[in-house]
Amino acid sequence: MLTKLILILLAGVFVNNYILSQFLGICPFLGVSKKVETATGMGVAVIFVITLACAATYLVYYLILVPLHLEYLYTIAFILVIAALVQFVEMFIKKSSPSLYQALGVYLPLITTNCAVLGVAVSNMQKNYNFLESIVAGIGGAGGFTLAIILFAGIRERTEHNDIPKTFEGFPIALIGAGLMSVSFLGFSGLIKL
């Protein structure tokens, strides 16, 4: 049991990395990765939200959709749950910890539109994970997102001042960097079979 949880965690971070292997959550990955500092903020916020979203979507799916035989409505239901959850989390943090709210700043509402959140929830459902496994998969997937975005921000910070051909400046070189990162993460594929 514990072995399986650890495997799910590691698989989420390295093997099935949501950005580099499954190409989900690319918009924040490219949008908020100009500085390591902001990338870290985004990563922490994503870990927070995905973990909560996994728990919430699990409950909604198995307590509401399955008993009513409405499994086909999972996409719309999950989006609803995630949007409401992000709103609630934002309110809660604003009240309970203004310093954390300041630190997460604009990233918290941005996560509503992060498809990796929906991706993790759907993949948990498709793999028939139980409640605990869903949460661990969520932490793993979000950890992978955070790892990827922080590494990528480090790369972009360095390439920014490099002598790059005019045509490749800005986003083109960032996309090439992201591609190379994805290729390097390909080395993990097949390491863990789940």
Partner: protein
């Protein structure tokens, strides 16, 4: 049967939406944060351009600072007197009580008044020239270099270089303070708009050194200090400094200053009138002589 499926689908998703919506609405009341109503009110009267001219991060930052009393009601340079009056009404302060300010260049070392150590043919940037030997080409190390860094940062066209020295157009100046930060010599500072008397010199050199470099610099002779009836002007570190909280704008110091380092528009106007009368009288005398 099929209709029931549709109904359950609609009812369950719709129900979830209603429950989440109600929950969020309820939560927003529980987790409501007390925001000072003045902040939102002030923000609604500010221009909303988020230009940063006030020195705060955007209009909301300025509104928060005003509401907390950290900034004056006329903190917004763009809104001017109209916005200051509205903000003053919200804050319960009379906006007129806060005197409007203007920027003022504390140097009158024009091309004719001040000597140069050498000719400068370099980058047209005051900060760059100021790094050179002796603080730039100007004989006086404190003087205006006249390359117009202040002119470049002014968004309101209030500054111009006249005869090698920056001059503020007080009708256009909104006291945003950008030129104050741009001047590498620290020559620009605020003065109350209503007060017309100002010391047009920043030199901390002794009288002898000032005399050698500039015909109109403050030589720290203390004549202004002795003549002032209101204890408003003092020579500090070889430079006359006006205390605007005491200055009654009488212009006596400007009249008495042997180097004309103190500016007062009324005194200048009187001098100009006198000169014009003399000029008018002079040709009349010559015609009489003929």
């Amino acid at each position: 049967m099929e209709i029931i499926n549709v109904v359950t689908a609609v009812a369950s998703v719709g129900g979830m939406g209603v429950i989440f919506g109600g929950f969020l609405g309820y939560a927003s009341k529980i987790f409501a944060i007390h925001v000072d109503p003045k902040v939102t009110e002030i923000q609604s009267v500010l221009p909303g351009a988020n230009c940063g001219g006030c020195g705060f991060p955007g209009c909301s930052g300025c509104a928060t600072a005003i509401a907390q009393g950290k900034a004056p009601v006329n903190a917004c340079p763009v809104g001017g007197a109209r916005v200051a009056a509205l903000v003053g009404k919200i804050m319960g302060v009379d906006a007129a009580a806060v005197a409007p300010q203007v920027a003022f260049v504390k140097c009158n070392g024009t091309c004719t008044n001040a000597k140069s150590k050498y000719e400068y043919h370099g980058i047209e940037d005051c900060a760059f020239e100021a790094q050179l030997a002796g603080g730039g080409a100007k004989g006086c190390a404190y003087g205006c270099l006249g390359l117009g860094n202040c002119v470049k940062v002014c968004q309101f066209g209030a500054l111009s270089i006249v005869d090698g020295v920056a001059v503020v157009d007080e009708t256009k100046c909104v006291a945003c303070g950008k030129c104050i930060n741009a001047c590498p010599k620290g020559l620009i500072q605020f003065k109350p708009k209503a007060q017309k008397t100002a010391v047009r010199c920043s030199s901390l050199d002794t009288g002898k050194e000032v005399m050698a470099n500039c015909t109109t610099g403050c030589i720290a002779c203390h004549i202004c200090e002795k003549n002032c009836k209101f204890d408003a002007i003092h020579v500090i570190n070889n430079l006359a400094v006006i205390d605007y909280s005491k200055c009654k704008d009488c212009g006596l110091c400007a009249m008495k200053c042997p180097k004309h380092a103190i500016k007062n528009e009324r005194v200048e106007a009187m001098a100009a009138k006198k000169a014009a009368e003399e000029a008018a009288a002079a040709p009349a005398q010559t015609t009489n002589a003929q």
